[in-house]
Symmetry: C2
Subunit: 276 residues, 2 copies
């Protein structure tokens, strides 16, 4: 059995989201058990509770030896505000767990990966369980947790370490105490709801600050707002331009992003956890 704790380090979900995931797990993944921390449904302004409340809930999940995995309920914005403190307060029990999420929760995946705590995994989140297409993305995570690698990003070859991030999230992490050493990694980036000039600007920052990578892959860039003028380059041309300038091999596309096609990317060279 895989015992999965769910908390919300950034923004809240509703009880309907939780019920949808519970129904999916009961119907299709009887070997898994999901437990939603009450904090998932709380709110304080933009966030799923105050910084302290979100930190407590994350530590409740991470430091409890009864859980095998911690699944972040939703992104949004806010996990950066608690990531450094969370890692500092994690116990031995936290070190053998798998942590799954993406988008804003990339701050936590980064901090955990840097600290060598557990296994960081880019994957879809419980908030997606209410729609048919979202459930397919959620199933990839649940399958991976039971040892089925069919939902893993197809370019992952088991020999080059990988990591996956939202583009803004990675740009904000660079040179902070959350930044892991990504030297030699294939780094995959995706973005949503940003103008192309903003994508270009973020690549400028990354091209000038990332270490020597094995390469970069571009995930989905979705819901790009219309601007008053066409930018003049699409997202692939932008990624190629900055990779060329930085001497980073551009390796093509990756199947990650804010879409139902979002694949699982275990950080590093990880295999799925062994299920008991």
């Amino acid at each position: 059995m895989t015992n999965i704790a769910i908390c919300a380090p950034a923004t809240p979900i509703t009880r309907d989201h939780a019920a949808a995931l519970e129904a999916l797990v009961a119907a299709e993944f009887p070997a898994h058990r999901v437990s939603f921390h009450d904090q998932c449904f709380e709110s304080a302004g933009h966030f799923a509770g105050s910084d302290l409340r979100r930190l407590e809930a994350l530590l409740d999940c991470a430091n409890d030896p009864a859980f095998d995995a911690v699944w972040f309920a939703k992104g949004g914005y806010g996990s950066n505000r608690i990531a450094e403190a969370a890692v500092a307060q994690m116990s031995q029990a936290a070190r053998s767990k798998t942590y799954v999420g993406f988008s804003d929760c990339g701050y936590l995946l980064a901090a955990l990966y840097r600290a060598g705590i557990g296994q960081s995994v880019h994957g879809s989140m419980p908030v997606s369980a209410r729609s048919e297409r979202g459930r397919e993305a959620v199933r990839r995570v649940l399958r991976w947790l039971e040892g089925d690698v069919s939902g893993v990003e197809p370019s992952i070859d088991g020999t080059t370490p990988a990591a996956a991030f939202n583009l803004i999230t990675l740009a904000m992490i660079t040179n902070t105490p959350l930044m892991p050493d990504l030297s030699g990694h294939v780094v995959m980036v995706e973005e949503v709801s940003e103008h192309l000039y903003s994508i270009d600007r973020l690549f400028f920052h990354l091209a000038n600050t990332l270490p020597r990578l094995a390469g970069l892959r571009l995930g989905a860039v979705t819901d790009v707002p219309e601007n008053y003028v066409e930018f003049g380059q699409d997202e692939v041309a932008i990624a190629r331009f900055w990779c060329d300038r930085a001497g980073i091999p551009y390796l093509g596309r990756a199947e990650i992003g804010h879409t139902s096609a979002n694949r699982v990317v275990p950080f590093g060279l990880a295999s799925p956890p062994t299920t008991a």
Copy 2:
């Protein structure tokens, strides 16, 4: 006479903008002369011409000994793409000039300040000369260039070096080859058209990457889009929060920003240029 060259390192202006500035200068600043580079009116996708064209125009202005100052016509986005090459190709003539602009043109102000080339000055730009309120901001720059300091940001005391940036621009500059040493400076930041969660995220990055500052001042934060939920802190609370976490003295507000109140901030400890 102050001979001012105008080029557009980011996005273009129109002939109407140029005419409005020329009329203002003719009517009120007979000791100044403004010369618009033709490149100001060109466009290539988002930009005022290709990277190469914008770079050439900037070097035409900076490296011509006939000019005393280079004024950037407009921000938008794009000066980061040419800033490093521009600084590398500047001649001795570029070293005695004043460079004025703000917003996206902060990439150039930063790169010039880092390289010790000329005098970087945060100030309003020719694009603002078409409106009555914009002209008041433009006058502050023209007055400063003739030795009148009445438009300088009022907190500047002549003993602590200062610098002023758009918040995203500064966040993107950190740890790149454009980043000047801002240790011991009062750094002023302003932002426009960004959600409060984005402001918070940018402060997270800066709080974790800026060197030891003399302090931070918050300029105007304008045109904040409405979000689906109230953030829960205003821009002053956000700035205080991150300054407290980073050990940066929060010094209060600064009169800079995307408004007609935008004041002049000479980088470092500069006095106005001596007019001949």
